[in-house]
Amino acid sequence: MENKTLIELKTEIQNKKISSYELTKFFLDRIKKIDSKLNSFITITENNALKKAKEIDSEITKGNIKPLSGIPIAQKDIFCTKDIKTTCGSKMLENFVSPYDATVVEKLNEAGMIIIGKTNMDEFAMGSSNETSYFGDVKNPWDLNCVPGGSSGGSAASVAARLIPCSTGTDTGGSIRQPASLTGICGIKPTYGRVSRYGMIAFASSLDQAGIFTRTAKDCAILLSHISGYDPKDSTSSKKEVPDYYKECIKKFEKMKIGIPEEFLDGLDSKVSEVFNESVNIFKSNGCDIKKISLKNSKLGVSAYQVVAPAECSSNLSRFDGVRYGFRANDVNNIDELYKKSRSEGFGDEVKRRILIGTYALSTGYYDAYYLKAQKIRTIISQEFQNAFKEVDVIIGPTAPDCAFKLGEKLNDPIAMYLSDIFTVSTNLAGLPAISIPMGFKNQLPLGLQIIGNHFDESKILSLSNHYQNLTDWHTQKPKILGAI
C-alpha cells in the first residue's frame, strides 16, 4: 500500500476498493511505527484525520466524490492550519494555533484531502539540513546518520519513507528541491506568484514560494494544479490561468532543447558529475537536443541571496515581539526588555544570526552597499536566465553539489551550509519554476536532477520529468533501511 502513487490511491478510493478511513489509518500506523526513527512530524492529527476520513467515506457512499477525496497529506508546519498548532519549527510559536487556514491548506482541504499531520522543518525555514528545528533533527531515511536536507526536511523524509504519499513544502532558496534531492523524491518549486503565500509564515517575501513533494512527476502535476491560482489575499499571486498540469505532464512528449550551464559543472564532485552525465545521455538519445550554455553570474546567487533573504527576514520577523502572540519572556522590567528577552529566548541561533545580518544590511549607511547591490545582482542573474531561455526550453543540472551529508557536519559552519544551496538559490532570485527528481546514487545516497523552466513553464518541466521517469526507475527506489525497521 505504501508504495502506491497518489494517482493509484485516488483510483482505489473512487472505485471503492479501499475506504479513506482504512487508508488514513494505514498511514497513521506507519507513522507510529517508523517516525520515532526519523522525527519527520511535529504534530500528528490522528483524531481529526480519522474523523474527517469517516465523513468523507460517507460522502463517497452518497456519490459526492471530490478530485482527491480521502487521500492523506502532510502539511509543512509553516502553513497555518485552523485548530491545529503551527509552530514553524520554533519555540517562538510552540503553542500557536492559527485562527485561519493558509490558502494552500484550504485548497487541498476543498479537494477532499486529509491532513494527517504537520511536518518538521528548520526554524522559520532557515536552514539546509533540518538541524535548526526547535523540535529536533530530522533523519534521512536512506541513512539515519545523515540529514534529509532543509528547510522542508520533515516533508521530504516522510514522503521518502513512504509515511505519506505526498506533502507540502516551501522554497526560499532551495528548501523544497535540496531535500527532495537528498531523500530521492520529487519536489517542485513553482514560479513566484503561481501559488498563494497567504497563511504561509513569511521568511523572505520576494523569494518564498509554496510547492509539493511526491514520488512521481505525475503526482506532482496533479497537486500543483490544485494549489495554484490567483488569491485576492496575496497581492503577489498571479492572475495567469492555471493549466491542467496533469494533462500537460502526460501528453505526448515534444522534443525539447535542454541547456546545461557550464558553471554548474565546474569543479563538481566526480561521482555527481558521472551520474548527471548519464542522465544527459538519456535525454540525448530520447528526443532532446543538448546545448552548453553559460550563466556566468549565477555563482553570485549565494552572495546576493545572503543579503536579500536575511534583510527580508529581519523585517518579517519583527512581528514577533512577545506582545500579541508567540513566546513571551517572564521577569521583565520594561517594554524594551520584553521585546529583547522574548526574541532572544524564543528564536534559535540561526534565526538570530540572519536577523542580525539583515538588520545590518538594511541599516543607515549600508543599505546601498548591500541590499541595493544585491537587488541589482538579481536583475543581472534574471537577465542571464532570460537570455538563456531564448535559446533553450529548459535548463538542467544537479540539484545539490553532493549527496546527503552527516548530521552535525556543517552545523557550525554557516558558509558551508549556505553553499549547499549553490545550484538552487538563483532560480528563487529570478522567480523561476524548478523541480528536483531522483537521478541516481552516490554511496547509496540519492542524487537529484534539477530542471529549471522559464516563468510559468511548469508544464514543460513536469513533462520532461515525466519523460525521464518513463525511461528510468530511480524514482521507484526506496530506502533499504526501512525493511529493517
Binding site: N95, F96, V97, P99, Y192, G193, S206, L207, P232, S235, T236, S238, L300, V302, S303, A304, Q306, V307, S318, D321, V323, R324, Y325, R328, V332, N333, N334, I335, D336, E337, L338, Y339, K340, R343, S344, K352, R353, I355, L356, I357, T359, Y360, S363, L372, K373, A374, Q375, K376, I377, R378, T379, I380, S382, P414, I415, N428, L429, A430, G431, H455
Partner: protein
Amino acid sequence: MDKKTVIKIADLAKIQINDKEIEDISVSLQKILNLVDEMNAVNTDNIEPMSHPLNLKQELRKDVVLEKNKRDLFQKNNKYTENGYYKVPKIID
C-alpha cells in the same frame, strides 16, 4: 565587524546578546559579509535593482472592509489580554 557594531545592530534588532556571544557573533557575521562582498566584483552601475521577480507592479485593492472583527478569536493566542487590550510592562510613568 567590530564589537561596537554588533552591539548596535543587536539593539536595533531587539536581540539580547551577552559578552560571551558578541565575539562569536562578530566572527560569524564577518564571514557572511566576506561571502557577500563577492558581489563587488561585478559592475552594477547602470543596472536597475529588482524588487519583484516578475517585474510586476504591486496591485492595490479598494480600501474597503472585507473581514469581520475577529479580535476575540485572535486574542485566544495570548493570555496577557484584558478587555480586548494587550497587557505590557508600563511604558509611560
